[in-house]
């Protein structure tokens, strides 16, 4: 709606959305084994959802940002003097495993569940 998009409330909404997009969160990342030429030895899966974390750790940090006590204190120090220390980083806080069926270097068939392959949650640390 052209009218509402030009109105001040429309602009505010867009600004809010943009801010939300910049906040630390999980983003899509599909690892396609064909792209790294690994499909010759990995039988399954053909790829997997790995995700990644990116974004700002803004003040105030809401609960969903999983901030540690350290991150909260770092935010305070950053507010007092940003030249002294940066803001906390947006990193994976929970990771999950991915099972793979593959041939090893002796051509034996292996099924293995690899830990810490996919991001389940991001947070400010």
């Amino acid at each position: 709606n052209r009218d509402s998009s030009n109105s001040s409330s429309g602009r505010k909404n867009r600004r809010k959305k943009r801010k939300r997009r910049n906040v630390c969160q999980r983003h899509d990342l599909y690892v396609d084994f064909a792209e790294v030429d690994w499909t010759t030895w990995i039988v399954a899966p053909p790829g997997y959802d790995a995700y990644y974390c990116q974004g700002q750790c803004p003040f105030p940090m809401s609960d969903h940002l999983n901030a540690t006590n350290h991150a909260i204190v770092q935010t305070l120090v950053n507010a007092a003097n940003s030249a002294l220390t940066p803001k906390p980083c947006c990193v994976p806080t929970e990771l999950g495993g991915v099972p793979m069926l593959y041939l090893d270097d002796k051509s034996k068939v292996v099924l293995k569940n690899y830990p810490e392959m996919t991001v389940q949650a991001c947070g400010c640390r």
Partner: protein, 292 residues
């Protein structure tokens, strides 16, 4: 030296990035990328990039194991079979929960027989020395496939066979032929019965035998001290080797199954399946989506 795990384009990009951290020698940049490749190999528990033959067949059992482990998360894909193998599923929950790796082994074809071995016996020796040293075996099973045979049994239990699984504890010395000649027969290996099972030759299925203690022992000794197993098949009623078509009921020897192609034999031949744990925090438990 590159392991080949990083594709060429990616490698060049990584070298460019590494250049920011080194003085301008190409060797140093290469070394940084090689270190990175090494950590990738480590992650997979490999020594070098696997280079399987183009038409390498992945045993159907392993494909089923993958599918069973994926549980609710399984999405059909072209490289994985769609049907289920009769008589096969994930190991029991208490095994699946304490292991995170399953490895399959085929026996050494050229060691199926030893001198003086009866015709209804077959020796199955599996080379598990390639298993990474950090992995601890939690369980192992011997899988034997049997195919229904239709023969003329008018009465009695002629269709019932007995499968005996022995562990070879000690092989006779190499000069065994001469030593045993006084009695006109060769000395036999010392064996220990691990399991015995009555089977109906009118059914097609996989038979699974727990061979965990023997496999655990093989993982701890040198390969030459791993003598393998012996499988014996006898007709239950007469205690004699199976005759005629019944001889081919259990898929033990390649030369008994000329009707099966090499590609198919990979899926039907005896297999040792080991379940192990590498110390990392995952398991082979069936994956289930939590309900909302």
């Amino acid at each position: 030296v590159s392991s080949g795990l990083v594709p060429k384009v990616g490698r060049n990009n990584l070298i460019r990035q590494a250049a920011k951290y080194t003085s301008d020698t190409r060797e140093e940049e290469d070394a940084i990328v090689n270190e990175y490749e090494k950590s990738l190999l480590n992650m997979f528990g490999l020594k070098r990039r696997p280079t399987p033959e183009k038409d390498f067949q992945v045993p159907r059992i392993m494909q089923h194991l993958y599918k069973a482990h994926m549980g609710d998360y399984y999405e059909p894909e072209p490289k994985i079979v769609t049907s289920w193998e009769t008589g096969f599923d994930l190991p029991h929950e208490d095994i699946a929960s304490r292991v995170n790796t399953a490895r399959s082994y085929h026996h050494e074809d050229n060691e199926e027989h030893y001198p003086g071995m009866p015709s209804n016996h077959i020796r199955l020796r599996f080379d598990i020395s390639t298993m990474p040293s950090e992995e601890v075996i939690g369980a192992a099973e011997l899988l034997l496939h049997r195919e229904a045979v239709w023969h003329h049994v008018t009465s009695g239990q002629g269709h019932m066979h007995r499968l005996n699984i022995y562990e070879i504890v000690k092989m006779p010395p190499d000069d065994g032929g001469r030593a045993g000649s006084r009695f006109g027969s060769r000395p036999q290996p010392i064996t220990r019965l691990l399991d015995t099972r009555l089977i109906d030759t009118r059914n097609t299925t996989w038979e699974r035998f727990d061979v965990s203690p023997a496999t655990l022992l093989w993982s701890r000794v040198a390969h030459k001290e791993n003598h393998g197993l012996v499988v014996e098949v006898v007709q239950e009623d007469e205690q004699i080797p199976p005759q005629g078509d019944a001889e081919r009921h259990v898929r033990l020897k390649r030369d008994m199954h000329h009707d099966v192609s090499d590609r198919e034999w990979v899926h039907l031949r005896p297999m040792l399946l080991t379940y192990s744990h590498d110390g990392k925090d995952t398991s082979l438990r069936r994956r289930k989506r939590s309900s909302r």
